[in-house]
Amino acid sequence: MSVTLRDVDHVAKLANLSFSDEEKQTLVGELNAILDYMEQLNELDTSNVDPLSHVIELSNVFRDDELKPGLSREEALRNAPQRSEKFFKVPKVLGDR
């Protein structure tokens, strides 16, 4: 498996990142190096190993369905780069989800 320029473009777009052509070339090299390194794992037989989703052996951590005070609106909006009286404000969204 090797990463191409197209893959880098695709992943960059999904991550909302933009790179210069030079940076993209560097990333192609770096991503391929990382994948090659991971290839070493293929030396192991994992056919009898369950996929690991969590590194800690914990399960069923719940909270009761109770209300606790959160932040006031003023506090919530305080760090927003742009706001109106009651809302967060972002540049007009044109595309759909």
């Binding site: 695709h10 989703s53 969590h54 967060f88 404000k89 972002v90 969204v93 759909d96």
Partner: protein
């Protein structure tokens, strides 16, 4: 709109139900609808760095209820996943959902088709996820974001592509709504967005097996629109095919004002969500003991209740369907029936139909006219039972009962005391009734002659006139009996 008979639609639905928990899925903020923007928020649902989500136990309880009600397998070890996409109303940049290990799989619901037959619609899965916030595009030049709904718990119910008409999709959705409201896990309000449906639609030539290319239609935010939106999209696809074209796989948004489904501007990457297990949330293990406890606490399911109304109470299928459509109506009916059984000591089976008649016609009529929920109707089950008892024991006539019913809507007075105060007691005294009848006959010599000459039709006229003279308070069966005796006496004389 008429669907082309040569083609058959294939429809699958994804239904999102907003759960009736007090707090959000992963934080202790309120889920209350319609409050001031950005007032139910905290660092967790605002997606602040360094915060950790903690799962609301009731979310798991609620989805298990739905899973058991639809015969799903409950996954012993279930995992949350991150669904990654950028949108301003999703502060974290991902939605917490489930991917390859949803909590419920399989299962099915039954729908009652209009021809009286039943059809099974299979479910693929039911999983847990969190809602996104709300973006408002039309009150400012910029987009405004309200985070209140972020993190409100949802279950997504995914059906198999088993529906073959918009009507079936509507019936499926109605059944899902009935189930979630019976289970008390969702208020089922589509207009307020508590229940949302997206559809996957394709069409194929009748008699062929392979599915056509499917499209997804979103934003069908009322029961009324679901059938219309599906019909629109099915017709559009059929038209494309009959003109020799091919259906493009795309997502469309239903526009209720224009009555059309409009393709979303979609980028090719749009569906690359890069799901992966959420490391912040530990797996959910559900053991048999837990599901067993939940199963025991479940209310009677609507279809089971409907069948019981038919089989053990002897109600017609139509009555059983109408009464069990909403849990509150069925509860009201059963409370009234229980109360009437207690008051009269008679067999429930004999009382069920009279109670059903009053609930289905008069109570439901009042609810419709005054836009009330059944709990808001001013006549409680105890008072309605009291009124029906007065009819059954002959204290009042059916005609008077209608008058009494209207009277009861305006006050919380006992039916008995209204009857006493207004002098509505039915007159069964033979002397009084005979006198009234005699007066009617004396005043209607023409009609009497007709009766003697063999016209039985005028009999009703005499009953009506006598009842009128008694202001509706005469006992109809005694009047009938006395009148018949008197007229037949004249005939043979």
């Amino acid at each position: 709109m008429k669907l082309n008979d040569a083609y058959e639609p294939v429809i699958g639905l994804e239904v999102h139900a907003q759960l009736l928990t007090a707090s959000k899925a992963f934080c202790s903020c309120s889920t209350q609808f319609g409050v001031e923007p950005n007032s139910n928020v905290c660092p967790v649902c605002l997606g602040m760095p360094g915060t950790l989500p903690v799962l609301n136990r009731n979310l798991v309880e609620f989805i298990i209820r739905m899973g058991l009600a639809t015969g799903c397998s409950i996954t012993p070890r279930s995992v949350f996943a991150r669904k990654n996409y950028f949108y301003p109303d999703l502060p974290k940049g991902y939605q917490i959902s489930q991917f390859d290990l949803p909590l419920c799989t399989g299962g099915s619901v039954e729908i009652d088709l209009d021809d009286g037959s039943r059809k099974t619609i299979r479910l693929t899965r039911i999983h847990m996820e969190e809602d996104a916030g709300k973006s408002i595009h039309d009150i400012d030049v910029d987009t405004l974001v309200d985070v209140n709904r972020c993190g409100v718990p949802l279950i997504e119910i995914v059906s198999e592509p088993d529906m073959r008409s918009p009507r079936e999709a509507y019936l499926f959705l109605t059944r899902i709504r009935q189930l979630v409201t019976y289970l008390g896990i969702c208020d089922g309000n589509m207009e307020e967005g508590s229940l949302r449906a997206d559809a996957n639609i394709s069409v194929r030539r009748k008699g062929t097996t392979p599915f056509g290319t499917k499209t997804e239609v979103k934003n069908m935010n009322s029961f009324r629109y679901v059938e219309r939106a599906l019909e629109f999209e099915i017709n559009r696809q059929i038209q494309v095919l009959t003109e020799g074209g091919t259906v493009a796989q795309e997502t469309l948004l239903w526009d209720a004002n224009l009555g059309v489904a409009i393709p979303m501007r979609s980028k090719e990457e749009a569906h690359d969500y890069r799901y992966f297990p959420d490391p912040d949330l530990v797996p959910v293990l559900v053991e048999e003991a837990w599901t067993g406890r939940i199963r025991e606490s479940m209310p009677e399911l609507p279809t089971v209740r409907r069948d019981r109304f038919e089989s053990t109470l002897g109600l017609p299928r139509y009555d059983a369907d109408v009464l069990t459509a909403e849990k509150e109506t069925a509860d009201y009916f059963e409370d009234t029936l229980q109360e009437l059984t207690n008051q009269t000591g008679r067999d429930r089976k004999d009382l069920a139909k009279p109670v059903s008649n009053w609930v289905m016609t008069d109570i439901l009529r009042v609810m419709g006219e005054r836009k009330l929920a059944i709990g808001q109707v001013p006549i409680s089950p105890v008072r309605l039972a009291g009124m029906i008892r007065l009819i059954l024991d002959g204290t009042i006539s059916g005609t008077i009962a209608k008058e009494l019913f209207e009277e009861m809507l305006g006050s919380d007075e006992d039916p008995e005391s209204i009857v006493e105060r207004k002098g509505l007691v039915q007159v069964s005294d033979h002397g009084v009734l005979s006198a009234a009848i005699q007066e009617v006959l004396d005043n209607s010599p023409d009609q009497v002659r007709k009766y003697i000459n063999g016209s039985d039709k005028v009999f009703g006229f005499f009953v009506g006139q006598t009842m009128k003279k008694l202001q509706g308070k005469g006992n109809p069966s005694v009047i009938n009996e006395l009148l018949r005796k008197k007229l037949d006496g004249l005939k043979s004389a």
